[in-house]
């Protein structure tokens, strides 16, 4: 159950949209922020708020890679594996992260801190290889830089 304040906030957000569907992504993101990931309960709540069926919410939720329909760690690392990053060595970065965190792509580190997910293009092609954690983009990655980023992100929490 989400708190009433959040429910009212979301209702206001939906009311200001021209079509309710337009507000769907915002609603899902807020619910995800509340629960940590978009739980089944959250899908039901989103459907009710938006006047959509659970399937219609699920269609949107599963389309966007930053909406998580499974439990994730406290920070989610999106590593770009699209063409520009691939041409400047994203595979090495991915391999380094896998080794460092001890996870396969899609996995969550044993301490529950990081989830590692490949993604296709973060719009940061000029600065590849690139990754994103939360709302922060990091470019021109090297293994050393990755170490720094992980340290920094650990401290944020």
């Amino acid at each position: 159950m989400i708190p009433d304040t959040l429910r009212e906030e979301l209702k206001a957000r939906i009311a200001s949209a021209i079509t309710t569907r337009e507000a769907a992504v915002d609603v899902m993101k807020e619910l995800q922020r509340h629960y940590g990931w978009l739980t089944d309960t959250a899908v039901h709540e989103a459907a009710e708020l938006l006047g959509l069926s659970t399937l219609q919410v699920e269609e949107l939720a599963t389309f966007y890679e930053m909406i998580y329909r499974r439990p994730v760690g406290r920070r989610v690392i999106h590593v770009c594996d699209s063409i520009s990053c691939w041409s400047v060595g994203c595979e090495e970065i991915m391999a380094y992260l896998q080794e460092k965190l001890g996870v396969e792509p899609g996995g969550t580190s044993a301490d529950g801190m990081f989830t590692l997910i490949p993604c296709a293009c973060l719009g940061n092609c000029g600065e590849g290889p690139t990754l994103m954690i939360g709302d922060t983009l990091y470019g021109r990655l090297t293994p050393e830089r990755v170490d720094e980023i992980l340290e920094k992100e650990r401290k944020v929490l």
Partner: protein
């Protein structure tokens, strides 16, 4: 009308026709998946490539996305186009399992046909295929997602065409999944069409699972008997068991689809309780003996209670052939009452509706689909004619407002097809005059004759839903021959005997009736109570005609030989009664299949007429109806006013 040349053949098509359809018109079928005539073009599957040699566009194009235009010269056999199609079908097949031998779609699979037609035969891909977990979609539809080629037809039909909201597409890229949020029965009353519209075996008919291959089916063009709309179907049977029903295209009536009631109501035909033999007082008898007994008992009845104490009763589900012979039978039997309807109200309402309709104002489902304003008066379409709701949705999608009039038009029907409808109390409130092609749809179940009569004054065309697949025909005959309702006949106190021909009669009306004879194929209450039962054939076991709700006579053909299904054949038909039931069907030579000595209702009536000294003929349709004898079962049918001539 644009003229173009496809493979050196000149084609002229109406403006707006796609090049893919134009090629089809001259018999050139190019493989395609995402395009479907009812769903339109999206150009997504990339399979229908043709080479445009001359004209406004040049080079390789998706032919479903290019409207035919003057001066176009198109090649479907061009090497480059053929190569593209073969590569596209190869990639569509990359993940497709090699499970055709255990797939119900095998043999009736568009993917099989188009893979071969597209020029792909040998798989080069050796990698792992993506796999999915399937969902339980209820009792009617089997789900097998691994077979999916992502054509999106199912979701486009289910959500856009039919307005369902519980089946859709999830995920992205190579993980696209078509299904529900969680396991559960599909909610749309049109969900069964997924079976027809899926080009491969993702959705198959669970009720006919693993029962037969396409080439084993007994099939024929047929008409659905489960409401008055007369949707065109193809029932499929094997070993005397009706296995499934598929939709058959008729642009004037149902278009491409049918409702789930029409598709999944096959079990009554296979019901072991069906009357299979003539019965006299609960004892099996031969036909001759049963006819003799019936005529003897009727003679007795007339002696005892006087002439006119007999009622001959037809119904809205009795085919036109039988219905048309009833007046002659009633005359020869000296029956005092000829009834086409059992209850007073239904008869009156149907009669009112039928006399209101004429060639100009009767709206077909095609008219409803093309309408720009629709009022549904005292009618729950989900109950009285679900396919009409699908027609209403198409009009609504094109911008037509939908008004639900009166307390008997529940909002749930609109919700079932995601139509945003407005509820009003009286038809007078509907601004029908503002529109060019308004249609008023009216039920006959919960309305009154006065309300139906009022429709004549509405500035709109009218579609009435009637009680039964041939209720229109029955009402016409009742008007012509002075029929009354059975309830009214019984109320006179004169009815002492009833001959019920495929008529459903409430038990109360049979009380105090000395003789009940039932000619029927269903194990109805009347059949159970009847003194004499003459078993008739189901609609799938005979040729016949139904006149649908808009006065359209449609011919249905015999699909299957009548008889008990071989599966579960009772012991009395085994070669030896004292040995255990054999695994194989018993090899006993017979003139007809066990339990197959049934006759179409019109034939039973004709046999009686002959015994009564009437003229025997092989043609049940005579007089004005003679024009319907050569009705083409694969045509659009003939409106009854067109034969009045």
């Amino acid at each position: 009308m644009p003229k173009l040349i496809i493979d050196n053949i000149e084609v002229e098509v109406p403006a707006g026709t796609t090049v893919l359809e134009a090629a089809k018109k001259v018999g050139i079928v190019i493989p395609h998946f995402c395009y479907h005539p009812a769903l339109g073009s999206v150009g997504a599957c990339r399979l229908c490539a043709m080479k445009f040699l001359e004209g406004p566009v040049k080079g390789i194009q998706m032919s479903c996305m290019v409207p035919a235009q003057d001066g176009m010269v198109v090649s479907t056999t061009d090497d480059e186009a053929a190569k593209m199609r073969s590569l596209v079908i190869e990639w569509l097949m990359t993940n497709h399992p090699h499970d055709c031998p255990v797939c119900d779609e095998g043999g009736e699979c568009l993917l099989q046909d188009f893979t071969v037609a597209g020029g792909h035969g040998i798989r080069r891909y050796r990698g792992k295929k993506r796999t999915f977990l399937n969902q339980c979609l209820g009792d009617y539809i089997e789900h097998e997602m691994n077979r999916c080629i992502e054509c999106y037809r199912c979701v486009r039909f289910y959500q856009e065409f039919a307005g369902g909201s519980d089946l859709g597409v999830m995920g992205s890229a190579a993980r696209v999944y078509f299904g529900r949020f969680e396991d559960g029965a599909l909610a749309s009353p049109f969900s069964g069409n997924l079976v027809d519209i899926c080009p491969t075996g993702v959705y198959t008919d669970k009720t006919a699972r693993f029962r037969a291959r396409y080439w084993d089916y007994d099939m024929a063009p047929s008409v659905c008997p489960h409401c008055s709309l007369g949707c065109n179907t193809i029932p499929a049977a094997r070993y005397r068991e009706l296995l499934k029903t598929m939709a058959r295209r008729n642009d004037a009536v149902n278009g491409w689809f049918i409702c789930d009631r029409g598709r999944f109501s096959n079990s009554p035909v296979n019901d072991p309780e069906r009357p299979r033999h003539p019965m006299i007082e609960g004892r099996e008898a031969g036909w001759d003996e049963a006819f003799d007994a019936l005529l003897f008992r009727i003679g007795e009845l007339c002696e005892l209670h006087g002439e006119g104490s007999l009622a001959v009763v037809g119904s809205g589900r009795l085919a036109l052939e039988g219905s048309a012979l009833l007046p002659q039978l009633a005359g020869l039997l000296g029956a005092g009452f000829l009834c086409y309807f059992t209850d007073d109200g239904a008869g009156d309402r149907t009669a009112t509706a039928v006399s209101l309709l004429n060639t100009d104002n009767a709206a077909s489902m095609a008219d409803v689909r093309a309408s720009d304003c629709i009022a549904i008066v005292d009618c729950d379409l989900l109950e009285e004619g679900p396919m009409m709701l699908l027609a209403v949705r198409q009009a609504w999608r094109n911008g037509a407002p939908v008004l639900l009039v009166g307390e008997h038009s529940p909002l749930e029907q609109a919700k079932a097809a995601s139509i945003e409808a407005v509820q009003i109390s009286f038809l007078e409130e509907a601004p029908l005059g503002l529109f060019e092609n308004p249609v008023v749809i009216c039920g006959t179940k919960n309305s009154s004759p006065a309300a139906i009569e009022k429709l004549a004054r509405a500035e709109a065309r009218v579609a009435c839903l009637l009680p039964g697949p041939n209720a229109f025909g029955a009402a016409l005959l009742a008007r012509e021959h002075g029929g009354t309702s059975l309830a009214a006949a019984v109320a006179t106190g004169k009815v002492k005997g009833i001959v019920a021909v495929e008529a459903d009669i409430p038990v109360e009306l049979l009380e105090g009736v000395a003789l009940v004879a039932a000619f029927d194929w269903l194990p109805t209450e009347v059949v159970k109570k009847a003194d004499i039962v003459l078993p008739t054939t189901a609609w799938t076991e005979m040729d016949g005609t139904f006149v649908n709700n808009e006065g359209r006579a449609q011919r249905f053909r015999k699909v299957m030989t009548p008889g008990l299904p071989i599966k579960g054949l009772p012991e009395r038909y085994h070669a030896s009664a004292d040995k255990p039931a054999p695994f194989h069907p018993p090899r006993v030579h017979r003139k007809e299949p066990p339990g197959g000595d049934l006759r179409p209702a019109w034939r039973v009536i004709m046999d009686l007429i002959e015994r009564l000294g009437g003229e025997k003929t092989e043609e049940p349709l005579s007089g004005k109806l003679e024009a319907l004898r050569d009705l083409d079962p694969e045509g659009e049918g003939v409106r009854i006013w067109e034969i009045d001539g």
